[in-house]
């Protein structure tokens, strides 16, 4: 069963509290648990009111905290990454040694965080690792990174090796330049094997689950459904969504009752968008969640709420859902490349062609099935594409897109 939990959502929705509650629940089951923050603007120390930092710190029996610090990791734990990059860039003729050990290549911060998470996982020191992830945009790039690097490396690594072989003698003679040897290339290769391994780990519902946090506000609803789309697209197992800061039945004033009405509208929308997931509503507390006791209360509350929750639509859930053993679906949406565009497959059990209407609306695909309406955000690549056909087969809707002719794609030189 999963032992890596990634908690993510737009900034300010309460990811850290939800992640902290996960960690406390887990530790109280008697399982050694590590709560990791991968947000560059760390909050763990604030929530638990301790001085957290770049090194693991146990704050209660079986409960440890870590705020990932990419610079520290680069220096202390993964100096080989810079060495490997250095030797690769030297093979391209760059004087990397002049850049210095403390230089961070733009975008590489996430790489060190990911490597650390993988090592922590592999060390087996903790039964569960809970990752509090940066605001949505950053999370996506964090999760995208293994993909990105594997792509580059699959292409460049063999090429680099070949270049080295061909050029080393020439460079030595003409420019007295040392090119990286096989060992350095192997080091680089190892780095990428590590990243591929991590990626497999993150995408396997048996080892990892991703959970979203949202609040019923207009901007948040919009962004959360987009990141859900991307998480599906990259194949990460999302199993639950937490709706946070829900005003109680009697919020005490007409001022807050007004806000309650505003929330109700967005909650309805959220329920629709995330019908496939376990949904948990966390109340808006009249005080900030700070300190271990406050987090403990929240975790108790979440456990209670979970017992009342409806299971996700179209699944037969276990009778007693438990925070760390929630059902998950991984077949909601998928894309395939076709000759001139992409093919989107969405699961819509019970849908018949006659009843399904689709329309493109900005960067969303609106789908209407009888009274049920859902709009699916489309990936950026499909911006300006047109729908060629819609088919229904085996409870799945297949939408064929054709890329726009005037696309941005120029043929390279």
């Amino acid at each position: 069963m999963a032992d890596l939990f990634i908690i993510t959502g737009k900034g300010g929705v309460g990811k850290t509290s939800v992640a902290a509650a996960h960690a406390v629940s887990s530790a109280e089951e008697g399982r050694p648990t590590l709560l990791v923050s991968a947000d560059m603007a760390h909050n763990l120390g604030d929530i638990f009111q301790v001085q957290a930092g770049g090194h693991v710190q146990e704050i209660a029996p079986g409960l440890s905290l870590l705020e990932l610090d990419p610079y520290l990791l680069m220096r202390e734990e993964y100096p080989n990454v810079n060495r490997a990059v250095a030797s690769l860039s030297q093979s391209a003729g760059a004087a990397w040694d002049k850049v210095g050990d403390s230089y961070m290549i733009p975008g590489f911060e996430n790489l060190f965080c990911l490597l650390k998470i993988r090592d922590l996982y592999r060390s087996g020191t903790y039964d569960r690792i809970i990752v509090d992830c940066a605001p949505t945009g950053e999370t996506l790039s964090l999760l995208k990174l293994p993909e990105l690097l594997t792509w580059y490396v699959e292409k460049f690594s063999p090429v680099g090796r070949m270049i080295t072989r061909i050029l080393t003698p020439a460079a030595k003679i003409r420019y007295r330049m040392d090119l990286p040897d096989g060992a350095a290339m192997d080091e680089l290769g190892q780095l990428f094997r590590d990243l591929v391994e991590l990626q497999d780990l993150l995408k396997d519902p048996e080892t990892c689950r991703v959970r979203l946090v949202a609040i019923p506000e207009r901007m948040v609803v919009e962004e959360t459904r987009r990141s859900y789309m991307y998480l599906n697209l990259y194949g990460y197992p999302v199993d639950a969504v937490f709706f946070n800061r829900i005003l109680p039945e009697d919020p005490g004033s007409s001022f807050m009752e007004n806000w309650q009405r505003i929330q109700a509208g967005y909650l309805e929308e959220l329920e629709n968008v995330f019908a496939d997931l376990v949904r948990i509503r966390i109340p808006w507390y009249p005080a900030e969640i700070r300190g271990l006791e406050a987090v403990r209360r929240l975790s108790g509350e979440i456990a209670g709420l979970l017992r009342q929750e409806r299971p996700p639509a179209q699944t037969t859930a276990d009778p007693a859902p438990d925070l760390f053993h929630l059902p998950v679906r991984t077949d909601s949406e998928s894309y395939e490349k076709t000759a001139d565009g992409y093919c989107l497959t969405i699961r819509i059990p019970g849908g018949e062609r006659e009843e399904v209407q689709t329309a493109l609306h900005g960067t969303d695909l609106d789908i209407r099935i009888r009274n049920f309406q859902r709009s699916i955000p489309l990936p950026g690549v499909l911006r300006g594409a047109s729908v060629r056909s819609v088919r229904i087969r085996d409870g799945k809707m297949i939408v064929e897109f054709r890329k726009s002719e005037s696309g941005e794609r120029k043929s390279g030189g």
């Binding site: 737009k10 900034g11 300010g12 929705v13 560059m40 603007a41 705020e67 610079y71 860039s89 003729g93 760059a94 004087a95 990397w96 002049k98 850049v99 210095g100 403390s102 290549i105 733009p106 605001p135 945009g137 993909e147 792509w151 292409k155 460049f156 090429v159 070949m162 460079a171 003409r174 609040i215 506000e217 207009r218 901007m219 919009e222 962004e223 987009r226 697209l233 990259y234 109680p248 009697d250 919020p251 005490g252 004033s253 001022f255 007004n258 806000w259 009249p286 005080a287 900030e288 700070r290 894309y335 395939e336 992409y342 990936p379 950026g380 690549v381 941005e408 120029k410 390279g412 030189g413």
Partner: protein, 394 residues
């Protein structure tokens, strides 16, 4: 042109505050461009308009836009992207994610920075108001130009020389195409432009950063930390907006306990940003959307004040020279940083300054370059780095 940059933790209402500010300034007779750099755009929502990457008139005097990453990236380094795509297309089994993946690391930051510079250079507006992404992303935005130019300064000439000599050979022996000169030219231009922009953003007479926070303890703690970071990078904060203050009427019944917490936090907020102006806005009875609502919010926020004014020009870095001891001191304003969170090293002509988990590498002023860093002290939130002549060391 004045540039006002609003930043803060997610959910504090940066967008509403930035939009209200822009509306207010435009209503008092100046031409304003309002720009959102957050990829999760919400500016359109706030103004009740569909916005695009081109400035759109909201009312005479106010234009707004949302940066489109895909589009800007093609404009900024289309040639490089084409080159990478060419390499990758060699193994064209990729699915849709391959196309999405082509977005470069750091690309978001780059696009936003270039767009800000363009607006500045076009000079069609009196004031540019920027609605920035949450803290973490703002940080990477601020350090990006320095990060990239270090890379470019040291690596680019070598790479260019190398490809010039070996490029043809590689292309002949392998299937790797040679990067065209265009790729390098593009990169060069980019770096030069980022350096120009950096100067503009550091100039207190042009650019002001404004921190938006709420009176919640955790949010405020983050705001204080960003204040430190912004100083570390030598940008100027001239004002702080405290948003979503619960009105008296909301702190009843269920929310009764909020009052005490809020009182303490407001007190802390008042003490946290010395010398900076404070503006306050209550939690509104509903979402702030549309020009009239924004105007009303601006009225409450700024009263009679003009938000385009420069409220503080305090420098973050100061140089001192003591003729008696011969010691030169570089003083850096770093509020709330503890001594255990600071590390400083001199590497060649550069100073590497670690504060918590943030590292800045900056070129030292000329007079400091040949000296060595003998030590530092931290007093009243000011880091004092002492530089001595090498002979003084012994």
């Amino acid at each position: 042109m004045r540039i006002l940059i609003y930043t803060g933790k997610g959910g504090v209402g940066k967008t509403s505050i930035a939009a209200a500010t822009a509306v207010r300034i435009a209503r008092t007779g100046r031409k304003v461009l309002l720009m959102s750099t957050d990829q999760a755009h919400s500016l359109g929502d706030s103004l009740c308009r569909n916005l695009g990457p081109e400035p759109q008139e909201i009312f005479p005097g106010l234009e707004a836009l949302e940066i489109d990453q895909t589009r800007e990236s093609r404009r900024a380094w289309g040639a490089l992207q084409d080159y990478l795509r060419q390499l990758i297309a060699r193994k064209a089994e990729g699915g849709i994610e391959a196309d999405e993946v082509l977005l470069f690391p750091g690309l978001e930051e780059l696009c936003s920075l270039i767009r800000i510079l363009e607006a500045y250079e076009e000079d069609r507006h009196d004031v540019l108001v920027v609605d920035c992404a949450p803290t973490g992303e703002t940080l990477s935005l601020l350090r990006y130009p320095e990060q990239l130019s270090v890379l470019a300064d040291r690596l680019l000439p070598m790479i260019r020389g190398f490809t010039g000599v070996f490029g043809g050979l590689i292309t002949r022996r392998t299937t790797v195409p040679k990067p065209r000169d265009l790729v390098f030219a593009e990169f060069d231009t980019l770096i030069r432009r980022l350096n120009v922009l950096q100067k503009i953003l550091r100039d207190r007479d042009i650019t002001s950063m404004r921190i938006v926070t709420t009176p919640e303890r955790i949010v405020l703690q983050e705001a204080r930390r960003s204040f430190t970071w912004i100083n570390q990078y030598d940008f100027g904060v001239d004002a702080v907006c405290i948003n979503k203050i619960y009105p008296e009427e909301a702190m009843k019944g269920y929310f009764d306990g909020w009052r005490e917490m809020q009182r303490e936090s407001l007190q802390l907020a008042a003490e946290s940003f010395p010398g900076r102006r404070h503006f306050f806005l209550l939690l509104q009875p509903e979402e702030i959307r549309g020009v009239p609502a924004l105007e009303k919010a601006a009225q409450e926020l700024y009263g009679k004040e003009d938000p385009a004014e420069i409220f503080c020009c305090a420098a973050a870095f100061r140089e001192e020279y003591d003729p008696h001891s011969g010691i030169r001191t570089l003083a850096v304003f770093l509020p709330y940083a503890g001594p255990e969170e600071i590390r400083a090293e001199k590497e060649g002509d550069d100073l590497i300054l670690y504060v918590r988990n943030e590292v800045r590498r900056l070129r030292l002023p000329d007079l400091f370059c040949r000296r060595s860093l003998s030590g530092w002290t931290l007093e009243d939130g000011e880091l004092r780095l002492q530089f001595v002549n090498s002979y003084q060391k012994t």
